[in-house]
């Protein structure tokens, strides 16, 4: 009896050193089905598709069945051979090679010969392009094509590898309405030929146009499969958001006057018309989906991403930061999202990391580093941030997520900042340590600092934000204060354009 399912997986878990990204997830896709995979940031969607692509190996006990056959291990090449093709957001194509090569190279390589049969490659590529019904010259260099066309090439590549399941990660994020329509037409054609498509996306309106089934993930767990006809935006959002974990609500002690004002900040391809105010003593939460421009916008406040137009007023006076050192001198601190690459120098010890931003203040009369003062300063902040183990000589890379984050915070506290911007404060930190970081942030704000927190974790945003800005596609789509702050409202603003509520 031939199964109607192309793919069935069960018991898929994936544990990383500090977090369990997938917890006993099941996922099934019928042949020729158009299936949506949705969830908040960090719900596990990206991890799941990487497991299916053979990029990640799932924890032992995972059951993977493709066309009724149980599969042992997957790697990128065998996954493709079994008919699974993944188109990641960056397409993983070669900008310097031609369209034909990008389409046919992988499948040609598998044939094992030394010589390239260009005629064959072109035929394969031609077939794929014709199937899609689009007009893309085979000999163009990929890098010269528009994003939309590059994506079509990526799809063509999947077809050339005889894919029976194509998984697309955020496919429409860079497409215009017309290009999206074309994409959907192609997907319907694929469906008619029995090729299944899985869409990982945040754009609920679009998903309803093509998808028959929605799979919802939340916190790494499988919540359920839901036929599209039974669903609407609100129901989906509620499923993505509803949770049992929550943090204690920490209220502000007192909110002071305006310290920072941003007016119509705009940068092409990054953010548009950003305006808001920031007050002393408050924690301003900025949330939204990945790709909504939060980090890009906040980089502009730190001298990392110069805006095209708009004003930044610090204590009422306009400022213009060209480099981070300008921003630091003005009293702004930034704890970045990517700790390992941007936050810490892993191969150096904690003492040197924690004093990195204030070295100039630790010199003696000869302009040499005063070792005693350095050690004292380091010790002061090490104990202030309560990092464990409190060994200054230990390399930054040897600390656990939560403690490493403390070191970064400690580094900035040493500069006595007036504004602290923190991007994903509890990323890669286990649950117990998260609450402690929240308490730390609340305390800093209560002591008079103004805190901007970017977070994709709704519970966190709910727990400590005094105000919330929701960004969507580079703009501020919603602002909430006090009692207005609730999950559904925020998620609505994150997912949907203003006129699409309900």
């Amino acid at each position: 009896m031939e199964s109607e399912y192309f793919l069935r997986v069960r018991n898929v878990s994936k544990t990383f050193p500090s977090v369990k990204a997938l917890d006993n997830v099941s996922f099934s896709v019928k042949k020729g089905e158009v299936h949506a995979l949705i969830g908040e940031n960090g719900a596990g969607k990206s991890t799941l598709i990487k497991v299916l692509a053979g990029v990640y190996e799932p924890d032992p006990g995972a059951h993977i069945e493709i066309e009724g056959e149980v599969i042992g291990k997957l790697n990128p090449i065998t996954s493709v051979r079994h008919g699974i093709s993944i188109i990641f957001q960056d397409f993983s194509l070669f900008a310097n090679l031609t369209v034909a090569e990008n389409i046919a190279m992988s499948s040609s390589l598998q044939q094992g010969s030394t010589l390239v049969d260009w005629k064959d490659m072109r035929q394969v590529a031609r077939k794929a392009i014709d199937y899609l019904g689009v007009d893309i010259p085979l000999d163009s260099r990929l890098g010269n094509l528009s994003i939309a066309k590059q994506q079509l090439v990526a799809i063509a590549r999947s077809l050339a590898s005889s894919a029976k399941l194509i998984i697309m990660d955020e496919p429409t994020s860079a497409l215009s309405k017309g290009e999206v329509d074309l994409l959907f037409k192609i997907i319907r054609n694929l469906q008619a030929d029995g090729i299944a498509v899985v869409f990982v996306s945040h754009k609920l309106e679009e998903l309803f146009e093509v998808c028959e089934t929605f799979t919802v993930l939340r916190d790494g767990k499988f919540i359920g499969d839901y036929p599209a006809k039974d669903m609407d935006n609100n129901k989906l959002i509620a499923l993505m958001v509803g949770r049992s974990v929550s943090y204690d609500r920490l209220e502000a002690k007192a909110i002071g006057d305006t310290i920072l004002e941003v007016q119509s900040l705009t940068k092409a391809g990054n953010f548009k018309d950003i305006s808001f105010q920031l007050h002393r003593g408050e924690i301003l939460g900025i949330t939204g989906l990945v790709g909504s421009g939060r980090t890009e916008m906040v980089h502009a406040l730190f001298g990392l991403n110069k805006p095209d137009s708009g004003t930044i007023l610090l204590n009422g006076s306009p400022v213009d930061f060209s480099t981070p050192s300008d921003a630091v001198a003005a009293g702004i601190a930034f704890v970045p999202e990517n700790r390992a690459l941007e936050g810490l120098v892993l191969r150096q010890n904690m003492r040197d990391n924690i004093t990195l931003a204030v070295l100039n203040q630790l010199t003696n009369s000869l302009k040499l580093i005063d070792q005693k003062r350095l050690q004292a300063e380091a010790s002061k902040w090490i104990s202030e941030i309560n990092v464990r183990p409190a060994v200054p000589d230990m390399l930054a890379g040897q600390f656990s997520g939560g403690n490493a984050q403390r070191i970064v915070i400690g580094k900035w506290l040493a500069t006595h900042p007036k504004i602290l911007i923190i991007d994903e404060p509890t990323n890669g930190i286990d649950v117990g340590a998260k609450a402690e970081i929240h308490r730390l942030m609340r305390q800093l704000a209560d002591d008079g600092m103004a805190v901007i927190m970017i977070s994709s974790e709704l519970p966190e945003v709910l727990a400590i934000s005094d105000r919330v800005l929701v960004m969507r596609r580079g703009r501020i789509n919603g602002e909430f204060t006090g009692s207005q702050i609730n999950s559904e409202a925020i998620m609505n603003k994150a997912f949907l354009a203003d006129n699409k509520v309900g």
């Binding site: 990392l304 050192s325 630091v328 941007e342 150096q348 990195l356 040499l368 010790s379």
Partner: protein, 343 residues
């Protein structure tokens, strides 16, 4: 929890085990060479000769090390020295020989000339690397050619000679029995240790070498740090230029060309990580001693000068290979430890 600033001696040695090993290697090689040369190696003639020769090489090695610390490489360091020495020689010969001028004035003029030209060369490197962000290897491969060309332009391939005796004294004189070049070198080493290990800039150099992004994000001015690195590297070239031209009593484009390879070997052998972020001055200095000893020893043993080149190149590859193998071993051990922990 406060760490006491006084660190026990044994811990200090353990933390510096790489460098301690090098000192042992140096001692071993010295003994070996003494044996092989039947004692000639430790003769006062040889020791004095080494003491005069080592510093110019030592300066080049320091100039290379500081750039490697930031994850780069400075292939133009020799030609910077040669070019500046040629300018210096030009000034001296114009003032002293042709102008019938004062020897002191000529000396000062020459030294100023060398300094200015070297720093200009360093600034060119720094501009391309620090401001434009071009890969150091590519920048210095081009400036290496440019500086050689400038030198050729002035000397037309020949040598400029005729220095006053005060200039020649720099490379040949002694103070209290110690060769003057060695005194300069020791002072320079002390200065380097202070600069790299006790100044803000020094600390920033190591941080930039390990992770320029995180350092930049922490408010450090990477551009300024890197520019100063290349200026310091050029400054080392100043001293090398003076010492070499003084010893040879002339300035020529290809003086010191064998030092380029040797300085890279010294840097790597001395424990500096070729990718940047780690390296101690004492390590480089010991490596310089080792390489000088090997050079002099091979010379005493009448080993063909060309084979010395082979040995130097081979030494570099062997050191890198050893680094690679030890990296593989420690990575394997980390994996085993992590697996054991997970159980």
């Amino acid at each position: 929890m406060n760490q006491s600033p006084k660190i026990p001696l044994y811990k200090s040695i353990r933390d510096n085990s790489k460098e301690a090993t090098l000192i042992v290697v140096f001692i071993v090689i010295t003994l070996l060479l003494t044996l092989l040369t039947k004692g000639k190696f430790l003769s006062s003639a040889n020791l004095v000769s080494m003491a005069f020769q080592l510093p110019e090489f030592g300066f080049i090695a320091l100039g290379m090390m500081v750039v490697v610390l930031t994850g780069g490489i400075n292939l133009s360091v020799i030609n910077t020295a040669a070019m500046s020495s040629i300018f210096g020689a030009l000034i001296i010969s114009k003032v002293f020989n042709q102008g019938a001028g004062n020897a002191t004035v000529a000396l000062i003029g020459g030294l100023i000339g060398i300094t200015v030209v070297a720093l200009l060369g360093g600034a060119l490197n720094g501009l391309a690397v620090a401001h434009f962000g071009v890969a150091p290897m590519l920048v210095t491969i081009s400036t290496m050619m440019i500086f050689e060309g400038v030198g050729l332009l002035i000397t037309k391939g020949g040598a400029i000679s005729g220095f006053p005796s005060n200039y020649m004294w720099i490379g040949a004189g002694k103070i209290l029995g110690i060769p003057f070049p060695m005194i300069l070198y020791i002072l320079a080493v002390i200065a380097f240790v202070i600069l790299l290990e006790h100044t803000v800039w020094g600390r920033q150099v190591y941080m930039v070498g390990c992770n320029p992004t995180a350092t930049y994000f922490s408010g450090v001015n990477n551009r300024s740090v890197l520019m100063r690195v290349y200026l310091l590297s050029a400054a080392c070239g100043i001293f090398a230029a003076v010492l070499i031209s003084s010893r040879y009593n002339s300035a020529k484009v290809d003086y010191g060309s064998s030092y380029l390879m040797k300085s890279i070997v010294a840097t790597v052998l001395g424990g500096t990580d070729i990718n940047g972020g780690y390296g101690k001055v004492i390590g480089t200095v010991t490596a310089v001693l080792i390489i000088q000893a090997i050079s002099s020893g091979l010379n005493l043993l009448n080993v063909n000068r060309f084979l010395t080149d082979v040995i130097m190149g081979g030494l570099l590859l062997v050191v890198l290979a050893i680094n690679f193998i030890s990296m593989v071993i420690s990575a394997r051990r980390n994996k085993q430890q992590a697996a054991a922990k997970a159980v």
